[in-house]
Amino acid sequence: MSAPFGTVLETLTRQRGVRASLIVSESDGLVVDSNLRFGQDGARVAALAASMYRKARLSARAAHLGAVAFLQLDAERGRICAVGGRSDLVIVVVSDASANVGLIRVELLKALESLA
């Protein structure tokens, strides 16, 4: 793992059921830093999660709902959670479908604070 986001990502990936955690650029959809388990395709997750987060942010703004606080996608075989701040960076977690989303949410929001 590489600096400077290593500690933040390691804390996230240590949560039970978390398969990968990434920091991605929302505008480019590129990986800034990542902590992936073997077999995860970080570039693919980053591109799709960034795109999804951007669309959610634009949708929330268009609906006059304000900023996106937390984004969660539940799928058959897993879950993607993402949070973003004022910068271009988005923190993304990929987890098992059975993972505790409450804990992941808390850790993601903590991670976001530590990046601010």
């Binding site: 959809g29 570039a43 980053a46 591109a47």
Partner: protein, 160 residues
């Protein structure tokens, strides 16, 4: 979006790529600058210009890569204020093609790179083998082939 191709096996993969990557414009060409397929252009002259420029940029980047890294750079990205382009090479049984993709805020470099990898796989799988090696595209042949390709895509009489 209008998609036209000189070789029919290219059309479906290119259409998927443009849709998935949400590209505004895509162009597939030989490294010599001859157009093979295009998506999003409406005028032949724009295709011809874009092909010439893309081939030149690719050649320049390739040579820079050889000078700096001992091998040509495979892909190039340039970001403008509103639009960006991605220029990369894809290898098939019929030889190498350059793909120029123009995209805006509807897409991202990550998405384009990801779907470009899929395009490469699909083109490599779909390409029929070449019966014989292509002769170097130079001089009269080049112009004739270029005009024939543009005519095939834009439905006009061949020039010259």
């Amino acid at each position: 979006m209008i998609i036209a191709s000189v070789e029919p096996w290219i059309e479906a993969p290119l259409r998927r790529y443009v849709d998935d990557a949400r590209a505004r414009i895509a162009l597939l060409l030989h490294p010599s600058g001859q157009v093979v397929a295009q998506a999003g252009f409406t005028r032949a002259v724009d295709v011809m210009t874009a092909c010439a420029l893309a081939a030149a940029v690719h050649a320049t980047a390739g040579e820079l890569g050889r000078q700096l890294d001992g091998r040509p750079f495979r892909a190039l990205h340039h970001a403008g204020v509103e639009q960006q382009f991605h220029l990369a090479v894809t290898e098939t049984a019929r030889g190498a093609y350059i793909c120029l993709t123009v995209f805006d805020q509807e897409s991202s470099l990550g998405l384009v790179q990801m779907y470009f990898e899929e395009l490469c796989r699909e083109l490599a799988a779909a390409a029929p083998p070449l019966a014989s090696l292509r002769a170097p595209a130079l001089g009269l042949d080049f112009e004739r082939d270029l005009n024939a390709n543009l005519a095939a895509m834009f439905g006009r009489e061949e020039r010259g």
